[in-house]
Amino acid sequence: MVTLAPAAPTSTNPQRFLPTETPLALLDAGGHVVADAGLVMPSDDILLALHRKIVLGRRFDSQATALTKQGRLAVYPSARGQEAGEIGAVVALRPQDWLFPTYRDSMAVVARGVDPVEVLALLRGDWHCGYDPYGYRVAPQCTPLATNALHAVGLAHAARIKGEDTVALVMLGDGATSEGDTHEALNFAAVWKSPVVFFVQNNGYAISVPLSKQSAAPSLAHKGVGYGMPSMLIDGNDPAAVYAAVAQAVAAAAAGEGPTLIEAITYRIEAHTNADDATRYRDRGEVESWLARDPLTRLRQHLTGRGLLDEAAIAALDAEAETEAAALRQRMNVDTVQDPAELFRYVYAEQTPALGQQQQELARELAESEDQ
């Protein structure tokens, strides 16, 4: 066990907690390397891994949207356009680290290695969480906004108490930063110097509500100084920048330097979910302008420009993505049957007599209706 004295408040140099005024980027929209980026360019291997996972992730995402149209998913919140954040953050995690995703972050969860069918159990309506969080070090995808931030802090703090080298990364949206839980999580993490990375994907909207109605701050990353937490503002459509920022924050957390707040500026290309009609609150023009800042195009241009990737490799990767999507489609195209008895099995560690009785009542009912 390590000694866990709370960090003494320091009145020296608050500036060190402030983010830059413009988002840090390593690659510009054309895929060119940005000079003096203030971030460490990832290795070519990492860049290629990011590219690969983004292609696969995007294909997964569009497949999931397609599955809603076929009625195979109740609903799906797409992360299209946010692939740099979804993938970059996850690739920067080490195996022993934990991910605390939201409903939006299926792509990130898949990138972390969770079977996509298990991921989609929630949205298929089969069960609330389809995967084993311990198997992947991925918490269940979280719907009540910002609540997962506190879980991440607690898990990370426990790791420190236990002397484990584990960092927790929590994903949040711009809207979620308005919730009280975000504030409490940032504060606990800063006071405890917990190994946590707060990764805010500012995609400009909380459903229909634009950032201007969510915050009047110079940037969301400017919240960090109010907790004594170093903060970074980055281009969330630059996979290299996301990876570099998160890797740096993970390394700092692992080194005992405490938490970091990262705001990644990005954009949600699709509607909030397939059930949402985004034309009610934003212009097509706005979407177009963000399409021009596409994270995949940017990375691909950089990699092809440097000769690290060619048409053949891209075609092979696209084919692989198609194969995966086809497999997913096929596996999702079966009617699953849930056992109603499951409803009563996990409420408590041991079933209570009353729940046992309710389970029997239901079983009797079902048997009777089969008889008829």
């Binding site: 309506g125 909380a206 009610r280 729940l355």
Partner: protein, 348 residues
């Protein structure tokens, strides 16, 4: 602050088909029009018109000062509504889904419910908190809670839930005019059910239950999302020759003892039907108080047909959780009916 416009005159009482969502929308529009102190705010209620479109078009009609989106924070919404009401406005706020009202629980419980009492009536909080609640729409977790018992146990709140479009209109109008804070629970699976009716401000009374279907042998006491099921069950029972009365409570708090006890004394048998979990659910209060008030009239124990004592199920299992017609009919069968020979039929 009441300003009537000539658009009021347009409201000719001609019956037409209307959904509950449409009726609620009309209620908000009419309240906004008639009383300039009424405000509508919450998450996505402005430009988008709400995720269920209940506030559709209101921002365009009444402007951003009166109908607006807030930052994403439910305690913030309720807490600022309290401050606005202290300053003479009548906020009607939306919590996007049942479980997303929980962050506001302290503001609701420790302030909204208590400020009038705390100040000996000097500070009134005429606030309506609209909460789409309950299941039956295939929603994922946290989108289907029946959270009424949390509010009905809290003294100082009124808790109301409409079962029909006409009631939705009338009850919301009255809730907005009510000087007490009202938790207005909208059964989301009834949002799109239509009724041909005229929307009238005076049709329902905020704290009175209504007999939706008269009957003489059993009283089904229900509300909100389960009401429709109770009515269908009553129809099915009628085909089997059983006369079932169905009461729509509408006001969960205060409880209309008069209407309900009269029915139960008459029928001698009662079943409470609701979606929420049974344990310490709202039906417990109904059963407890009626067992006390009608003790000598009861032919059988008051039964509860409710959701199970489990977290709300995933969409593919929710049908098993929700009170069904069959489950209600089964319960009716268990109400100690005597056959002509005088022996009890049910296995009780």
């Amino acid at each position: 602050m009441t300003t009537l416009t000539d658009r009021d005159l347009e409201k000719a009482p001609i019956a037409s088909p209307v959904t509950m969502a449409g009726a609620l929308n009309r209620a908000l529009a009419d309240a906004l029009r008639e009383d300039s102190s009424v405000l509508v705010f919450g998450e996505d209620v402005g430009t988008l018109g709400g995720v269920f479109r209940v506030t559709d078009g209101l921002a365009a009609t009444f402007g951003e000062q009166r109908v607006f989106d807030t930052p994403l924070a439910e305690a913030g919404i309720v807490g600022t509504a309290i401050g606005m009401a202290m300053n003479g406005l009548r906020p009607v706020v939306e919590m996007q889904f049942d479980a997303f009202a929980y962050p506001a629980f302290e503001q609701v419980t420790s302030h909204l419910a208590k400020l009038r009492n705390r100040t000996k009536g000097r500070v009134a909080l005429p606030i309506v908190i609209r909460i789409p609640y309950g299941g039956g729409i295939g929603g994922v977790e946290h989108h289907c809670d029946s959270s009424e018992a949390y509010y009905t146990h809290t003294a100082g709140l009124r808790v109301v839930t409409p079962g029909t479009p006409a009631d939705a209109y009338a009850l919301l109008r009255q809730a907005i005019e009510c000087p007490d804070p009202v938790i207005f629970l909208e059964p989301k699976r009834r949002y799109w059910s239509k009724e041909t009716t005229t929307l009238q401000h005076t049709a329902a009374t905020l704290d009175r239950a209504v007999v939706r279907r008269p009957g003489s042998e059993v009283t089904l006491i229900s509300y909100g999302g389960a009401l429709g099921t109770a009515l269908e069950a009553a129809d099915a029972a009628a085909e089997e020759g059983r006369s079932v009365e169905v009461i729509d409570l509408r006001s969960l708090s205060p409880f209309d003892d008069e209407t309900v006890a009269a029915s139960v004394r008459r029928t001698g048998r009662a079943i409470v039907v609701h979606e929420a979990s049974r344990f310490c659910g709202y039906g417990a209060e109904v059963a407890a108080r009626l067992s006390e008030q009608c003790f000598y009239y009861l032919e059988a124990p008051i039964l509860r047909v409710t959701g199970f004592d489990i977290p709300y199920p995933p969409p593919n299992l929710e049908e098993h959780h929700l009170p069904s017609i069959d489950r209600i009919l089964d319960a009716i069968d268990r109400l100690q009916w005597q056959d002509s020979s005088g022996t009890v039929k049910a296995d009780g």
